[in-house]
Symmetry: C3
């Protein structure tokens, strides 16, 4: 999430926090740790992750301990960095609930078809020739390309499943990112694509999602991918071009899948996959090895019987 | 499902049935066998379950055979107890189809946000500060707490998947229960939560459901649970507090999961889980044992090769 | 998809193609290869499938090479048969986007309940006593029987997941088929049932689908089937009567399942199942064999330990 350049002093004042650094140090955005860029504020609240946050691309760090400030950076001191970060992002990106079916601030291209029952939120952008079938919901700020087709009852832009466990409640990291659907994408019916927490969830050009596919926050999907029905991809995954996933595949958060990989049906993937590989199983491994294991397992009952008979 | 106190004679007359017991014996509700309380009518149509029904908390039993009536209880004799029970529950809870987007009989709290395209059925109750994103559907009689967030295209209160197989058709047990969503619950987009058949489906305070989660009839979920996307929980489950389920987990009907248990991604659970345990696999077992099996299975192809080589 | 009888000459002119055969040869419809009948046009673009197309029931073949024309048939020559077929089917069945909630061309039976937020497309037919809960979407041309119940946020008639991979984009086979839902069917909330590509997707009389079930294009489901939540059935499957699938089952495309078969929860089925069989696992096999493998796998870690100890 980007903001207009704002001084450290002004930002710290919003949450009434002390800071370390030049008061005119400039802040141009907010991001969680996986997406930080120069100018960004990031937060960290556990000593285990202090170094990662301090040495990241972020130039301002909200932290719950007074530590040495890296050169050219600034620290904002706050006992609850997670909550402070939420306060700041919501300050610049307040929740809004449009009560119009199609927000007057949405920018709709030429020759766009929006069928009955659709909801188009504030500041949504939709490219030319795109078709939204009935009851599609597009949350605020999302961008849909040209020549996109989205089928009925699909939700684009629901909030990230990203919660911090407190002793008596979960605290949600406020969602201030977007979904970007590139040109020529097809999305089936009853799919759900969550916004990035602070950055963008992206579906690349020409990719095809069948029905009931779920894509989590901040996941980026390349061009010409093909995902069959009921695939579920967790948050913060990086998926290349021309990746194929068959029905009901599940991908854990933070996984990278390189170009041209194939994930076979119902696989549950918890490791990275390099280009062109085919994976299968739960937990998924290289399909060739998994098939060998399956073949061996089929022989196992007779093998055990034989071994015990021999020992009789 | 509760009714105002009604006499056995009146109830039996509705379905033109004979009864055994005091005609002024009082009936205060209807429940299926797993949820019965004193005052309830239950039904039983198979000798295998006669004892269970007769000795349950229910004080009136619709039964298809003349048996000894337990002391202080009453029997209603009917050749088709299932159908008779349906007739009675629908008599007191007739199907209604509101044609308003928001029923005039719904009670909506203060500062509630109901976005476009939502449907709020008859007698629905919604607590303060709750947000319903676009196209959320809340069936009649359901209760949503305060500070609840429900994302787009989610369905709360569809009917129980509870059918009796007849020779030429399925007969549905009529759904006359409710869904109760407690305070501070978050529900993702395109989720489905079914009503209890005669009792309540409950999502406990502060629990978080990601997108495309399914919860079956009469399932009760405790406080501060966390369920990732595409989890499916069948009917009549009892889930404790602070239970975590990762993506695409499936839970069979009637399962009990105690506090703090963790069910790993894509597991299919068919047995009860005690407090604090971690389960994995299909069918799921203790994760530690399953990981040991997975590790062994990886060695199996080479083991088989070696054993056969030795025998050559 | 049927059309009024049209001459070969007229059809070929629409796509400016050469043809082989009698110019007055009659064409009465279009179908992809799995559904062809006499009078149909089919297309073929790969030598591997030439014989199959030429010897199929189709009496007109769009093909990308000049081959011998079978007796009584006709060929249409086109460098891109897939694209030519799309052009022709869309010519006779142009995309239309109704902007009415309930199209004036829909034929609605007696005593039908259509709750708020539903979309009923052009030429949809709905039988007597059917209930559509809120926000159900029925695409153009679909037919819903009598005494059908469809729960909230379900999508009937989204387009087939059937794409041809070109070097720089996927080209979709245009969907010109229908969904036929027969009498007394129950469909849960947030289900998705795709149209047939050129033919029909059929849900047989009295079948019951729980929530979040997906049914792909051209799949035909018999009578009195019972599918639990989150089942996903790919395209072009043939499923008999009284088939049961428990939660989260996945069925690959083109599979045949005969009457009375049972597929246990979370199974992933990639082979045909004969009548009355019970299947389990991913990939699914006969449940009895799979249970034997599971039992053996449980013993495997100790077996390996023993074998290695012996060799020490």
């Amino acid at each position: 999430m980007k903001i207009k350049p704002t001084s450290l002093k002004e930002i710290a004042a919003i949450i009434q926090a002390k800071f370390i650094g030049n008061e005119s140090h400039i802040i141009t955005g907010f991001n969680e740790i996986h997406r930080v860029e120069t100018g960004d504020v990031v937060f960290v609240d556990h000593p285990k992750y202090y170094d990662k946050a301090l040495s990241s691309a972020a130039t301002t760090i909200i932290i719950n301990k007074e530590v040495d400030c890296p050169a050219g950076k600034a620290l904002i001191l706050h006992p609850e960095p997670f909550t402070a970060f939420n306060t700041l992002t919501r300050h610049f990106n307040p929740l809004s609930y449009s009560n119009a079916n199609i927000s007057p601030t949405a920018k709709i291209g030429n020759n766009v078809t929006i069928m009955p029952g659709c909801f188009i939120g504030n500041n949504v952008i939709i490219g030319d020739n795109t078709v939204l079938h009935p009851n599609v919901v597009i949350y605020d700020q999302c961008e849909i390309g040209s020549n996109v087709i989205i089928h009925a009852n699909t939700t684009i832009g629901s909030h990230a499943f990203y919660f911090k466990k407190r002793s008596d409640a979960f605290e949600q990291l406020q969602t201030v990112g977007r979904v970007l659907i590139k040109d020529h994408v097809h999305i089936g019916s009853n799919c759900t694509i969550d916004k990035g927490v602070t950055s963008d969830t992206i579906i690349g050009k020409g990719s095809i999602l069948d029905n009931q596919v779920h894509v989590g926050h901040d996941t980026t999907i390349g061009e010409m991918c093909l995902f069959a029905a009921q695939v579920g991809i967790a948050g913060a995954c990086t998926i290349g071009n021309k990746v194929t996933m068959w029905g009901q595949v599940g991908i854990s958060s933070g996984i990278t899948i390189e170009d041209g990989a194939v994930i076979l049906a119902q696989s549950g993937l918890g490791e990275n996959v390099s280009a062109g590989q085919t994976y299968f199983g739960t937990p998924a491994g290289k399909a060739k090895e998994k098939m060998r294991e399956l073949f061996a397992t089929k022989q196992l009952p007779d093998l055990i019987k034989k071994l015990y008979d021999k020992n009789d």
